[in-house]
């Protein structure tokens, strides 16, 4: 798709752009020396970790830098016209309605108090002076073009009445109504679930062709880039370090940073070994700490020489349409790279000799419901009908000691409620839950200290996992003191030991959380969870808020600590590639039910439960050559307040037609567990023989 000749003049031409922000003390150079072209009907991906300046580039193009940001150098030409140095009025005329922007959160782009139809039609009536009835009809047509089901009715609804994926489609439709020459998309799918993301990405791919629009696509996700972009610019610390076509960059990354990024992105590989992540050592420097007059990546580079520390490399063309900012691009080869000693923990063959041991935790038919107050007058006096959100419905699972169970599913599938139930923050209505002989259906306030000690948790959000008022040492020390893990006078030594175990040195003892980076906070959170030497640690999306290079380091750290402490883990995540790398067993959840559970290898290979299959085929794979099955789920996840009868997935199941009379049984009866092997079971009506015939979702070489 990218073999197209780039002969026409580019629609957007950025040359050596430099953007700075004024702060209280000095100017911060957020972006410098960025150059790229965007052509019609082409997607240019800007990819990089947080804080590397990719959003600043986008805001620079439309001059939304805010009162303290300004373009301090270079040139940005839109359709041949210079944008830098013009006044706001001139810019507005130049841009006209030719540049549109789509942001990450659709709910913030849509006005919640105006119907979707009015918001869409307004774009045309205000910008173009088109009369209302015509504008209304055009808006409906546009909604149809972004594959909005039931578009005429959606026009009459308010934004909160449609799902997140549909909201983002409305925003895209709104951006396209003026038929812009350039569309800037800033992480448009990051807030969406993976199956919804897949549909939106397909849409973006189609639009580029249909509308002849140039797209600047900003994302941190290398998998998404591989799926939608033609050309990619990799940004690091405010500079563009590599630019080229998607195929050539993924096949042959020429900058050490790009190579490093590729190695630390989890791939949906076939085996656990091929999924090992190699983090990039060090961290992204803050703007004021960036090396001047030197290669910006040199402090973290495995190939750095004296020259790299003393001279700044320029972006130079190495092949047609592929440039990199490195002195040694010709000699370094990602294929011959060897991880430096100790970069990743060594994984022993397996602790498999202990197979067949009693499971450490066993849940059977656990149900956790939330009571929903109806708003009627009767319920005020306590006589109203009570309704329940069935967040966890009939979950049975067990985990052998020293193993990791990954729990995957989209948002709202009940995986966090399951974790809360196990940890004791929610009380199940029904079912049995045993852990080391303790009863887990008791809330945490009624649990024995011994049990509390053995069951700990690692949280998702690095910014709220630490109490900002106390030092790191104090917070890790608290569980040690509370559970009397060590004598009082040894608490400090034990904290330092734990800090070392998570690869932080003793100087962190006195630091406050605001002095730590996201990855460091997450490490401290891990140290705190392991302080009481628990037997079971629940990890609730522990890396989803981290950048890929930091994510890899934290995941490796968790694996290493698990090995050293012999801990059992339950790992909750929405990212199937991370779970693949991390887990021995995987459970797939949908609407409060586990629909498939088994050893990781078995989950990622046929026979699949149809939902697992759909999830796998939606995962963006950071490899433009990988073949992936194209299964898209339609509609939205039904409300857990009123789940579908029979199989919870029957309303969206793409495989129902494998059953006689279109899967009538799915609507009527709850499926039985089918055992593919002793450990691998599937919750589906379709016979295993049929499911086994299905091809693997991903075939890559």
């Amino acid at each position: 798709m990218t073999t197209m000749e780039r002969t026409h003049a580019p629609i957007l031409k950025v040359r050596n752009a430099a953007i700075s922000y004024e702060t209280r003390h000095t100017d911060v150079e957020a972006v410098r020396d960025v150059s790229f072209d965007v052509h019609r009907a082409e997607t240019f991906g800007v990819v990089g970790e947080s804080g590397c300046g990719k959003s600043t580039v986008a805001f620079g193009i439309v001059d939304f830098l805010g009162p303290n940001g300004k373009i301090v150098g270079g040139s940005i030409k839109f359709q041949g016209q210079e944008l830098v140095g013009r006044s706001q009025d001139e810019l507005r005329k130049l841009r006209g309605d030719q540049i549109s922007m789509v942001y990450q959160d659709p709910m913030q782009a849509l006005n919640p108090s105006v119907t979707i139809g009015d918001q869409l039609a307004e774009v045309l009536t205000v910008h173009r002076g088109i009369p209302k009835p015509e504008a209304w009809q055009k808006s409906i047509d546009m909604l149809d073009r972004v594959y909005m089901p039931d578009s005429a009715n959606v026009m009459k609804r308010y934004p909160h009445q449609i799902s997140g994926g549909q909201q983002q489609r409305v925003v895209i439709a709104m951006a396209l109504l003026n038929n812009p020459a350039l569309l800037i998309m800033d992480e448009p799918t990051t807030a969406l679930d993976v199956t919804v993301e897949a549909v939106v990405l397909d849409l973006i791919e189609d639009l580029k062709r249909d509308f002849d629009t140039g797209i600047v696509y900003i994302t941190h996700d290398l998998g998404v880039v591989a799926r939608v972009c033609n050309y990619v610019g990799v940004m690091y610390a405010g500079e563009m370090v590599e630019v080229g076509s998607v195929e050539s960059i993924y096949a042959n990354p020429m900058h050490p940073y790009t190579q490093g990024l590729m190695r630390c992105v989890p791939k949906l590989g076939a085996t656990k070994e091929s999924s090992i992540l190699y983090p990039i050592r060090g961290r992204v420097p803050a703007p004021q700490d960036r090396p001047k007059g030197a290669c910006i990546f040199a402090p973290r580079c495995d190939y750095a020489t004296d020259r790299c520390h003393n001279e700044k490399p320029q972006l130079r063309q190495l092949e047609t349409g592929h440039s990199a900012r490195c002195f040694y691009s010709e000699t370094i080869d990602a294929g011959t790279w060897e991880p430096p000693a100790g970069l990743v923990p060594e994984f022993e063959a397996d602790v498999g000799q202990e197979d067949g041991r009693e499971p450490i935790i066993r849940l059977s038919e656990v149900k956790t419901y939330y009571e929903q107050e109806s708003k009627s007058l009767l319920s005020l006096v306590g006589a109203g009908e009570k309704r329940y959100v069935k967040a966890v419905d009939d979950v049975s699972l067990e985990v052998p000691p020293n193993k990791t169970l990954g729990i995957v599913g989209e948002s709202g599938c009940g995986k966090s409620t399951l974790a809360k139930t196990i940890i004791g923050l929610e009380t199940p209505r029904d079912g049995k839950a045993q852990f080391l002989g303790f009863d887990l259906t008791v809330p945490v306030s009624g649990r024995d200290v011994k049990l509390i000690e053995e069951l700990q948790m690692v949280f998702q959000n690095p910014d709220s996992t630490m109490n900002p008022s106390y030092s790191v040492g104090h917070q890790i020390g608290r569980p040690l003191r509370r559970f009397n893990v060590v004598p009082k006078d040894q608490v400090r030594d034990e904290v330092v030991r734990l800090l070392n175990a998570v690869r932080l040195d003793g100087s962190y003892y006195k630091r406050l959380p605001r002095q730590l980076s996201g990855g460091e906070k997450q490490r401290v959170g891990i140290a705190r969870a392991f302080a009481s030497r628990p037997d079971l640690v629940l990890c609730d999306e522990p890396v989803s808020a981290l950048d890929v290079s930091v994510q890899a380091a934290v995941l490796n750290l968790l694996l290493e600590i698990q090995r050293d402490y012999g801990t059992t883990m339950m790992f909750i995540a929405h990212d199937l590639s991370v779970v693949r790398f991390f887990s021995d067993y995987v459970a797939v959840m949908y609407l409060g039910h586990i629909v498939e559970i088994g050893p990781a290898e078995a989950i990622y290979a046929p026979p699949y439960q149809p939902y697992t299959e759909a999830l796998l085929s939606a995962v963006p794979i950071p490899d433009p050559t990988a073949e992936q099955k194209h299964i898209r789920l339609h509609g939205t996840v039904p409300s857990a307040l009123d789940p579908p009868s029979g199989c919870p997935f029957h309303t969206r199941c793409p495989r129902r037609d494998l059953l006689p009379d279109g899967g009538k049984i799915c609507e009527e009866q709850i499926p039985q567990w089918q055992y593919n092997s002793e450990e691998h079971r599937i919750f589906c009506h379709i016979p295993l023989e049929e499911l086994r015939k299905i091809e693997p979702v991903v075939t890559s070489d």
């Binding site: 209280r24 983090p279 050592r281 060090g282 961290r283 420097p285 402090p299 973290r300 430096p340 000693a341 100790g342 970069l343 990743v344 923990p345 940890i423 004791g424 923050l425 945490v444 306030s445 649990r447 200290v449 509390i452 069951l455 700990q456 948790m457 949280f459 998702q460 959000n461 709220s464 996992t465 630490m466 109490n467 900002p468 008022s469 106390y470 917070q475 608290r478 569980p479 509370r482 690869r503 932080l504 040195d505 100087s507 006195k510 630091r511 002095q515 980076s517 990855g519 460091e520 959170g525 705190r528 930091v550 380091a553 490796n556 750290l557 290493e560």
Partner: protein
């Protein structure tokens, strides 16, 4: 092994406690509004502390040869109807407001009446707000509805009812300020608690099986301190205003102690007969201190939210 992120050293050294404190204070100096407010407040604290050195008179010393005089070299701000020096009464009056709380004739506590009132209100209000916000359920309903009922009374009326019930004295004024301030503080703390209780570190504490009191006071309260401090500043201002009102209505400190409100009330009748000084200066004092505290609180909240 080097799987770590800290291979690139962060800052060279850990900043000391003093340095951190200084950085906190430097936020105040960023805002001109806050500095202006602080100057006014410090002025009043200064004159209150050094009152005996700043005037040769005592606040109750009467001079029948010099009644209702305007400012002069002998009496910088003039005298009142009994010939007492207004400057002396003003700065001794500031002591009661800002730096000392007379409990009995001979025993007094440091910190002024207004500040004690707000502190007591903070103690009760924060506790109720934390309980309502964190425990939720019927505790929340009961506590908040009771406080709502209190808020239904006009503030001045509530002050008068309380003082009328328990009698006029400095400690009772403290009590009145605390009672009137409690519902507002409780509402603020409750709303902050509702936000903070969703943070992961609170969940971590729950998972450790910590008691609700530990979670409320050790995990949640310290992180609500910013808005609470700003609110308390404003409340000290309101409290000074309330003290002025009570004094004016004759419900403040019993005479002849120098009370700004009662000074205004006494001086009021001489305004039209050509001696406005006795009423003017205490009014200016109350006004300037309230404005000063408001400016300081405003500047502080603006700066602390801007750079978070």
């Amino acid at each position: 092994m080097a799987v770590s992120e800290q291979t690139i050293p962060k800052q060279a050294a850990q900043p000391s406690r003093w340095r951190q404190l200084w950085e906190g204070l430097s936020i105040v100096f960023e805002s001109k509004i806050a500095v202006a407010g602080l100057v006014i407040i410090l002025f009043w604290i200064f004159v209150a502390i050094f009152a005996p050195l700043l005037t040769p008179y005592t606040p109750t010393e009467q001079d029948y040869t010099a009644q209702n005089q305007g400012p002069s070299a002998k009496h910088p701000l003039g005298t009142d109807s009994l010939g007492r020096d207004i400057w002396a009464r003003l700065i001794y009056g500031a002591r009661v407001v800002l730096i000392m709380l007379p409990v009995t004739e001979t025993f007094w506590l440091p910190l002024g009446t207004a500040i004690w009132g707000v502190l007591l209100g903070l103690l009760v209000g924060s506790t109720l707000g934390l309980m309502g916000g964190y425990l939720g359920g019927w505790v929340d309903e009961v506590v908040m509805r009771l406080l709502d009922a209190m808020m239904a009374f006009p503030v001045v009326l509530l002050y008068m009812i309380i003082i009328a019930a328990v009698g006029a004295s400095a400690t009772n004024v403290v009590l009145a300020i605390a009672i009137v301030g409690t519902p507002g503080i409780a509402r603020l703390v409750r709303s902050l608690t509702l936000d903070i209780r969703t943070r992961d570190y609170v969940r971590a504490a729950e998972i450790r099986g910590e008691s609700p009191w530990y979670i409320m006071f050790v995990e949640i309260l310290p992180n609500a301190r910013g808005p609470i401090i700003v609110d308390a500043m404003l409340r000290v201002g309101y409290a000074i205003f309330a003290m002025g009102t009570l004094g004016f209505l004759g419900l403040g400190l019993p005479p002849p102690s120098p009370d700004w409100g009662s000074m205004v009330a006494k001086g009021r009748q001489y305004i039209l007969s050509g001696s406005p000084w006795a009423a003017l200066w205490p009014s200016v004092a109350i006004g300037s201190l309230v404005v000063g505290l408001n400016l300081f609180a405003d500047g502080l909240s603006e700066e602390s939210t801007r750079y978070q």
